[in-house]
């Protein structure tokens, strides 16, 4: 079989995790020298990306770098393994971290933000936790990094230290710590029932545990990873968390944190239960209904938001459920579409958040109703915005089209035409909530925005690059970083083995 694999000992996954905490220490030590401090961030981002990309070729050849450190509890090791699913997630997160780093520097300095040291240090820890989540070889390792990510994001959510930020922080913790507790119980139950926690493509839980037990464990997992992935009804922390600075919303609330949630979904469905068992115990239907409802409701709610970032947040909630939907359909195409959407949505949504941040940094405006005619002042930013918006609506040639195409194919092949309808409707709704922004920006007259005045290059260039990346994913999905092959390898290793 083409996806037969073997593991080999390698320090690379560990280094990919450790490079940013090391940077975090250096960042804290150089708090008095902003330029040096930001150098560490950039170096760590580039280093991390280099480490991740060095693993792409071997992983595609079926050679998975892995390292088992020591027992974190008797019989359970702290172990990292870079498989195609993990590498594709780590790759998009680390690639976009580089761009976000430059963007952050531009954004934070333009706005003369306070506590920048804390900001950059927390950011580095978040990325480290994301790598740990991507490469975790078993559930306990996954849980550890998952909780670290929850905590490391908290200082970024409350960064503004305003009353709104603190209350958003409380909401964030209430949702995420509660879901973390559910995840902990799910992992503990898995350990007691199965005696192992090791991820394995196609799942390791046995049907002999009985439907009730399995469904109970699954629901706990659902709550556990559902909150981070914005699945309704656990989503409401995400729009509130938009009070965080834009680069945080961009990378964490569109790429790293929320994707860690859906990535967790993929791990649970594909590597703990297996798609077949998930369907047999009725969990797939449950998740399918929740995700389908989330897609539609989030899109409708997005339309009602005047604050641009909140509109983007609801859009994110909807799109995360695309991915969740992909993982519970028993078709390789659905998995492929879902997993590929992790990357394409990342590229598109980060572009949109970058645009929102650029507009805010330049003009101080956050509400769509105040952005009439802004296309005149910031034409490049708005062009990137259009690219991202088109992609999310599923218009070719932007990457979003491809993932949606595969998802649609998966929905049809697995015999769920209703879900095809959901996807199509969502495309229209996406257009519905992005179109007004574009119309206002270009076709409404404005007194304020009369001459060309873009955000600083540190912000402008990253957002143009991410827009280009989104298009590249649509035209040439295997691109330079082999995203398509990685996703395909992951999808087929899970579904080919897990299908009944």
């Amino acid at each position: 079989m083409a996806y037969a694999s073997e593991i080999y000992f390698s320090l690379t996954p560990l280094l990919a995790v450790l490079v940013s905490p090391a940077a975090a220490i250096l960042i804290l030590l150089s708090s008095q020298k902003p330029n040096l401090r930001e150098t560490w961030t950039v170096l760590a981002a580039v280093g991390k990306f280099a480490l991740v990309i060095s693993m792409v070729a071997p992983v595609l050849a079926g050679q998975y770098p892995a390292i088992t450190l020591f027992d974190i509890a008797p019989g359970i090791s702290l172990a990292l393994k870079a498989d195609p699913l993990g590498v594709s997630f780590a790759l998009s997160a680390s690639l976009l971290w580089i761009l976000t780093s430059f963007y952050s520097i531009g954004y934070m300095r333009t706005l003369k933000e306070h506590s920048q040291t804390r900001y950059f240090a927390s950011f580095a820890i978040c990325l480290s936790a994301t790598m740990g989540i991507a490469f975790a070889a078993n559930l306990l390792t996954f849980l550890i990094f998952y909780e670290v990510l929850t905590i490391a994001t908290y200082p970024l959510v409350i960064h503004k230290e305003s009353a709104a930020a603190i209350s958003a922080g409380r909401k964030y913790l209430a949702f995420l710590l509660t879901s973390g507790v559910a995840l902990l119980l799910a992992v503990a139950l898995t350990q007691m029932n199965a005696g192992t926690l090791e991820f394995s493509p196609g799942g390791f839980l046995s049907p002999s545990l009985g439907q009730a037990t399995l469904l109970g464990i699954f629901i706990l997992f659902l709550v556990g990873v559902g909150a981070k992935s914005g699945l309704m009804p656990f989503h409401s922390w995400l729009p509130s968390a938009m009070v965080a600075p834009s680069p945080v919303s961009a990378l964490l609330h569109a790429v790293a944190v929320v994707k860690a949630g859906v990535f967790g979904f993929a791990r649970v469905v594909g590597y703990v239960f297996g798609p077949g068992l998930t369907a047999d115990i009725g969990a797939a239907t449950l998740v399918g209904v929740l995700a389908g409802a989330t897609i539609i409701i989030a899109s409708l709610l997005a339309m009602a938001q005047d604050n641009l970032k909140r509109r983007l947040a609801y859009s994110t909630i909807g799109h995360l459920s695309y991915i969740i939907l992909g993982t519970v359909l028993l078709a390789p195409a659905a998995w492929l579409g879902g997993l590929f959407h992790i990357t394409t949505h990342a590229a598109m949504k980060i572009t949109l958040f970058f645009c929102a941040g650029a507009i805010y940094a330049k003009t101080g405006r956050e509400n769509i109703s105040e952005m009439d005619g802004i296309g005149k002042q910031m034409p490049l930013t708005m062009a990137a915005f259009i690219v991202g918006a088109l992609g999310l609506a599923g218009v070719p040639p932007v990457g979003g089209f491809l993932s949606k195409w595969f998802l649609a194919e998966g929905a049809v092949v697995s015999g769920h035409p209703v879900l095809l309808g959901v996807l199509l409707l969502s495309g229209i709704l996406n257009a519905g909530y992005f179109f007004p922004v574009v119309v206002r920006a270009y076709f409404r007259p404005s007194k304020h925005f009369v001459r060309f005045d873009e955000a600083s290059p540190a912000m402008l260039i990253p957002l143009l690059l991410t827009a280009a990346f989104a298009v590249l994913l649509g035209i040439y999905p295997d691109g330079i970083f082999r995203f398509y092959s990685l996703t395909a390898a992951a999808a087929f290793s899970v579904v080919a083995r897990g299908a009944p």
Binding site: I144, E147, I151, E161, I166, R170, L177, L184, M192
Partner: protein
């Protein structure tokens, strides 16, 4: 024959006697002797623990008199582990204490150190002794020195200490009564000997009464809900260093004693299966977890909050004892260690805050994250560990307790353990918010960082860093030490 078991308490006892003599010459000698004594005791304990792991338990006959006539001291995996926890925390807190004590209660330095060493001697004595009556002697040594230590402090301290004295004396009398019943039932005071003779007497009412008396006594000393009433005031009004010494270890030693009674004296077959005292403890502990957490949320004073948090955390240990299965006891013992580190760290932080600001009102903590960055880093780690965020140590004791509860099919315990994580998060994040995200009104020049002097800061950070190391390497502790302790609880056929 190795003298290690007896050397540990004797070293501490000797230094307790030397301190008043040397202290009358020069006040600083008191601290020096205390430090040397504690360091030596820790070294002996470590050597003892190592010997136990490599060569098995050490039994020492005091004065060469063989038991059951003579008094026996036993260093096995359980007592070795526990003695290490006590002497290590004692040493770290003593290193910290010098400036803090001079700052808060300068005139009473010499008696304070003498009493502190006496307290430590009593506590390790309880741990290493293999004799039920000798246990009582050490219990009284530790209790009486604790009353005196607690009474040093501000105006309200003597009243709080007096209340504890009354309850503590009741506990002491109950214990003696219990031991009396055991003695006239079995004719022996040696723990191993009593254990051997008890199975024939399992139906005896006197033995049941003994068990109940002893358990009430130890429950009181452990501050097991609802016998916790003495604790909050005592922790709040004593000097910082004293609280930091007493809070992490004293209640834990009582918990250790409960485990010792369960494992060695009465045996699981009796206390778990015949007279299900352990499950009573478990259920009370579960209530205590919830009660302590909720009360902690309601406090506005940091030290009072920590005191209630202790009541709640002791509940975790109680749940482990209540489960009385291997995973439960592993969780309980690991939590004894972890919580000792966490509480010591938190009370040292409280001492640091007192050192700089003179008060403990949480709402006045705004901006401390900027002015005391290192202290607050220690606080953050300890707080996250209390909440149970991995890889901090607190997560792992909860992990074993959770597995143990699932194993026992006790879903109420599962729910309590998980819910209390969230309640703990509520009261700790309330402080963290205040410390990091609330501005002081002065927008003047950036305040200079003013962490306390290194002699206070380093012990705080040592404990904070220790929490991460204990968390990452908990598996070694479980595999090499605790597994063998928990072995007798394995139910036949499972």
């Amino acid at each position: 024959m190795s003298h290690l078991p007896v050397l540990i308490p004797v070293t501490l006892l000797l230094s307790a006697f030397l301190i008043p003599l040397a202290g009358s010459i020069k006040r600083d000698f008191a601290f020096a002797i205390a430090l040397v004594g504690a360091a030596l005791a820790f070294a002996f304990t470590l050597a003892g623990l190592f010997t136990v792991i490599t060569q098995g338990e050490i039994r020492y006959h005091l004065g060469g008199w063989a038991p059951p006539i003579g008094i026996e001291y036993v260093l096995d995996a359980l007592s070795g582990f526990m003695a290490t926890v006590v002497t290590l925390i004692g040493l770290v807190v003593l290193i910290y204490s010098r400036r803090s004590v001079l700052h808060e209660v300068a005139p009473r330095v010499v008696p304070l150190y003498a009493l502190a060493m006496l307290l430590l001697a009593g506590l390790v004595g309880i741990i290493v002794t293999g004799d039920l009556f000798n246990f009582f002697v050490f219990l009284e040594i530790s209790s009486i020195s604790a009353y005196a230590l607690m009474a040093i402090g501000d105006d309200r301290a003597p009243v709080a200490a007096f209340r504890y004295l009354i309850l503590g004396s009741i506990a002491g009398s109950f214990y003696v009564l219990g031991v009396g019943f055991l003695y006239f039932s079995t004719g022996s005071l040696n723990m191993a000997d009593v254990a051997q003779r008890l199975p024939e007497l399992y139906q005896s009412r006197a033995v049941a009464a003994a068990a109940i008396f002893i358990f009430i006594a130890l429950g009181l000393k452990m501050a097991l809900f609802p016998l916790h009433l003495w604790l909050p005031d005592v922790y709040t009004y004593a000097p910082s260093a004293v609280t930091a010494l007493i809070a992490p270890i004293m209640t834990k030693v009582a918990a250790y004693a409960l485990i010792r009674m369960l494992l060695t004296v009465f045996q699981p077959a009796y206390l778990r299966d015949l007279l299900p005292l352990t499950s009573v403890i478990g259920w009370l502990a579960a209530c205590g977890i919830l009660y302590g957490s909720i009360m902690a949320i309601a406090q506005s004073d940091l030290r009072r909050m920590l005191a209630y948090s202790s009541i709640s955390q002791i509940g975790y240990i109680g749940i482990g004892i209540g489960l009385a299965n291997p995973l439960g006891i592993i969780g309980a013992l690991l939590h004894i260690l972890n919580h000792a580190f966490m509480k010591a760290c938190l009370f040292l932080v409280a001492g640091n805050i007192r050192w700089r600001t003179g008060q403990w009102e949480i709402r006045r903590f705004a901006g401390l994250g900027r002015t005391m960055p290192w202290t607050m880093a220690g606080f953050s780690v300890a707080a996250l560990s209390m909440v149970g965020i991995p890889p901090a140590a607190g997560f792992f004791s909860k992990w074993y307790l959770l597995l143990g509860s699932i194993d026992a099919g006790n879903w109420f315990f599962v729910a309590v353990i998980l819910a209390s994580s969230l309640l703990t998060a509520v009261y700790f994040f309330r402080v963290l918010e205040q410390v990091y995200a609330t501005h002081t009104n002065e927008e003047s020049a950036p305040m200079k960082a003013s962490d306390p002097p290194l002699s206070m800061l380093l012990p705080t950070l040592f404990l904070g860093a220790g929490l991460l190391i204990l968390g990452l390497f908990n598996s070694a502790i479980v595999t090499y030490i605790l597994n063998s302790v928990a072995q007798p609880l394995q139910r036949p056929g499972s």
